[in-house]
């Protein structure tokens, strides 16, 4: 009998061994998007960059909460003339493998970023004409044409180690990050979790949490279940329809902050379509009751937008106002434009990209039906939808935008400028909006060196685009996080929705 219970005890002890090995990390974060690769240049999406920001550093960084451009691997930077940028590098920084960081790594990184095999950042990399390294801690970039926001993107161009990267095969390169970042990767189990440990030699000092686990859980109800069962300390992407529940839960804090992303309806002005008439575009804008969308579809978690750039972006104009919601006036405008009985209109949009994107499209459909348009809806998964946008299949669609470089000039080149593939303009202008005067101003603005003069020029472009109704801004999303009270975490959300663990304090 004794022997039996002893055996049982032993068996139980052995069974619990794997559990001990998987002891809970100091900090567990459940996020909404899984990483796609550990190559820091493989995806130009915030979801992937968010992971990379823990393993790598850029020349500059944007610390929480406001994201002001600050020194990181570079201690100082200067725009010498329209085409020349000089960065002074930090001394005494080492990569995770012990190699020291110097100007050669920077040069190597930006040259590698030009290669489409390794990089989705070819746009910024190809704007560089030459890279000079006069000494180990100075890098001088010369761009082919003026790129005023060059330094503004340096927080997301992560620096890799030259010596080790040259010889690694891409399988290894895409799964084992070697950077200078605050954390080292311990284990990446695809579809399950990422485990990382603090880098004790980090140049900013070792981060406070020693072992951290990030768990991507894409299904929002499942993710919520992870924090309500205390399996996660921090949760990103709290679904807006669960807010009331979380507020009622005594164990969880709800943290929210305005997001940078603006959700808007993109609309073209292609000749031969009803949209060519500004009265039609105005009627559509006035028919949409944004206040009601925010109240019901977004459960109050959004801020009405009068323009696409957000406040911290260069080119934001605080004086801009939304057109009032006025369906009667909208009907009158349609009549004036020669469409007293409306016309056929298709509202396109993704159904798995932005917060409640499908529901917003449905709501817009209702408003447009009420002013007499004959509406059809075409919402589909983002993978198909974005493909169709690049083929200009839709003239009126829902989309979101935030400019990672905090510069409206760059946004305007991609979203507002007439489509011109050779010049790399209008890349994301899916609705084919075209306005010669704006095109001219957009090109001219990139040559302006003086920051305040440039800001004025960008604000003018922004204002005129809103006045011409080249887009119908709806709202800025609100980023929502849940934090477990018992975890005692000091968590400050960032404006770009990245999870940079070194910023999370005990």
């Amino acid at each position: 009998m004794k022997l039996k219970s002893l055996t049982l005890l032993l068996v139980l002890a052995f069974l619990s061994l794997p559990v001990l090995a998987l002891a809970k990390a100091d900090l567990v974060i459940a996020v909404d998007t899984p990483p796609k690769s550990m190559n820091p240049h493989s995806f130009n999406s915030d979801a992937n960059l968010s992971y990379m920001a823990n393993f790598f550093d850029g020349l500059l960084q944007r610390p929480a909460p406001e994201g002001k451009l600050s020194p990181a691997l570079a201690t100082a930077w200067e725009r010498k003339d329209a085409l020349t940028w000089e960065f002074t590098l930090r001394k005494g920084v080492t990569f995770h493998n012990g190699n020291s960081f110097n100007a050669a790594d920077v040069k190597f990184t930006f040259e590698r970023m030009k290669d489409p095999e390794f990089s989705k950042f070819v746009n910024i990399a190809n704007s560089i004409e030459s890279i000079e390294t006069p000494d180990d801690y100075t890098v001088i970039f010369k761009t082919a044409k003026p790129v005023p926001w060059f330094a503004e993107t340096m927080h997301q161009n992560f620096i890799v180690d030259m010596e080790s990267s040259i010889n690694r095969d891409s399988g290894d390169y895409n799964t084992h990050p070697i950077g200078t970042g605050a954390y080292k990767l311990v284990e990446w189990v695809k579809g399950s979790y990422i485990r990382m440990e603090a880098n004790p030699d980090y140049w900013e000092g070792a981060p406070e949490y020693k072992t951290v686990e990030i768990k991507p859980i894409t299904e929002s109800s499942t993710r919520f279940a992870a924090i309500s069962s205390r399996q996660a300390d921090i949760l990103t992407g709290v679904p807006v329809n669960l807010i009331e529940q979380i507020k009622k839960n005594p164990n969880i804090d709800l943290v929210s902050r305005p997001a940078r992303r603006c959700i808007y309806m993109d609309i073209g002005n292609k000749a031969g379509t009803p949209f060519a008439d500004i009265r039609v575009r105005k009627a559509i804008a006035m028919a949409i009751n944004e206040e009601e969308i925010i109240k019901t579809v977004m459960n109050g978690q959004a801020t009405a937008a009068a323009q696409v750039p957000d406040p911290p972006t260069v080119g934001y104009d605080a004086s801009l106002q939304r057109l009032p919601y006025d369906p009667q006036q909208a009907k009158a405008l349609l009549k004036e434009a020669g469409y007293p009985n409306g016309f056929d209109i298709t509202i396109a949009g993704p159904n798995d990209r932005y917060v409640n994107d499908k529901q917003i499209c449905e709501a817009v459909a209702k408003y447009l039906a009420k002013i007499g348009l004959n509406v059809s809806l075409d919402v589909k998964p983002k993978s198909i939808f974005f493909d169709e946008l690049s083929q200009n299949k839709h003239l009126f669609y829902l989309i979101g935008w935030m400019d990672g470089s905090y510069d409206f000039g760059r946004s305007a080149q991609m979203l507002l400028h007439s489509i011109d593939a050779d010049k790399g303009m209008g890349t994301y202008n899916g609705a084919m909006y075209s306005n010669a005067s704006l095109d001219e101003q957009i090109v001219a603005s990139s040559e302006v060196l003086d920051q305040s003069a440039r800001e004025k020029a960008l604000q003018k472009i922004n204002r005129e685009s809103v006045e011409d109704i080249s887009w119908i801004p709806l709202h800025y999303q609100q980023d929502l996080y849940a934090v477990l009270k018992s975890a005692n975490v000091k968590f400050t959300p960032r404006s770009d929705y990245w999870i940079v663990v070194k910023e999370i304090k005990k």
């Binding site: 329809n241 579809v297 159904n351 529901q359 209702k366 039906a369 009420k370 509406v375 059809s376 919402v379």
Partner: protein, 295 residues
């Protein structure tokens, strides 16, 4: 026809079988609701000019925040749950009936040809049936629906039919193989009857009973399948009412305590499937000569 039915033992056994009776009554109610949805429903939930976002997420009428205008509450777009269920029944039953009829016709024709002629034709038909059968029906329907650029209720019908004809073909082929050796078929052949005539006049009527049973059971399966596809977002487009889609919308609000968006369409779906199954159970027993002789 009715007179024959009245005199037959079928009526007797039907009246004495309470589950079958309940099933039949429920089916009649559902069909009635679906046919007269536009009269019965308080509103047309898919008339964009009538639906108001301001009415979204309202609780059923008997709760504090409810309103009599929406007896079972509203969903996230301000559509009444009751109205949407009534219109959704229409989609369910329409898809159910159409698929069962179309896929049984395809299956019967192919199965009879295979069974009667045999040889290479039979091999080709039955091997392709095996191929289709080796996929799960749901998976095959999802794959097929992925091909279409735009979806509507008929693409869903098409996809389910392609995935669903196989069981009819297999069943009828078995019956044909059995029946075609019978003396009356040989007699018909000896009289010089054409193949077509033999197949449809002599073989088919004798091979039909199991097919009828299969159709009744299949109806419930197809209704569930349409709901599943719509739940997954690959079924009818969001501009058409569907019980499956209602549940998938409501799913996002379950943790928020808004149970009515899932419960009512879910109950309707379950009741409908149970009703059809109760009725088809009785029907199967009736169609089986050995069982009916016993009583």
């Amino acid at each position: 026809m009715i007179r024959i039915f009245k005199k037959s033992h079928h009526l007797n056994s039907f009246v004495n079988d309470p589950p079958a009776l309940i099933g039949a009554v429920l089916i009649v109610v559902f069909v009635f609701c679906a046919l007269f949805a536009s009269v019965l429903a308080p509103m047309d939930p898919y008339d964009l000019t009538r639906v108001d976002l301001g009415n979204a997420l309202m609780a059923p009428a008997w709760m504090d925040s409810g309103s009599l205008a929406f007896p079972l509450g509203t969903d996230d777009q301000g559509r009444g749950i009751l109205s949407t269920i009534l219109y959704g029944l229409r989609t369910s039953l329409l898809v159910g009936f159409t698929v069962v009829i179309v896929s049984s016709i395809i299956g019967i024709v192919l199965g009879m040809i295979g069974g009667y002629y045999g040889g290479l034709l039979d091999t080709v038909i039955m091997r392709s049936a095996d191929t289709v059968f080796s996929f799960s029906t749901t998976l095959l329907a999802i794959l097929l629906l992925g091909i279409f650029e735009s979806r509507n209720i008929w693409t869903v019908v098409f996809a389910i039919c392609i995935a669903g004809w196989v069981k009819y073909a297999r069943t009828i082929r078995g019956s044909v193989l059995e029946v075609k050796e019978n003396a009356y078929v040989t007699a018909a052949k000896a009289c010089g009857a054409k193949d077509f005539r033999i197949l449809f006049k002599h073989i088919l009527p004798n091979a039909m009973p199991p097919i009828f049973v299969l159709m009744a059971v299949d109806m419930a399966v197809v209704i569930m399948l349409e709901a599943t596809l719509s739940f997954l977002g690959v079924g009818v487009p969001i501009t058409e009412p569907s019980l499956g889609m209602m549940i998938s919308i409501g799913k996002n609000y379950i943790y928020a305590g808004m149970w009515w968006m899932v419960l009512f369409p879910g109950m309707t779906l379950i009741l409908m499937v149970v009703a059809i199954n109760l009725f088809s159970d009785w029907f199967r027993d009736e169609m089986n000569p050995r069982l009916s002789q016993r009583s």
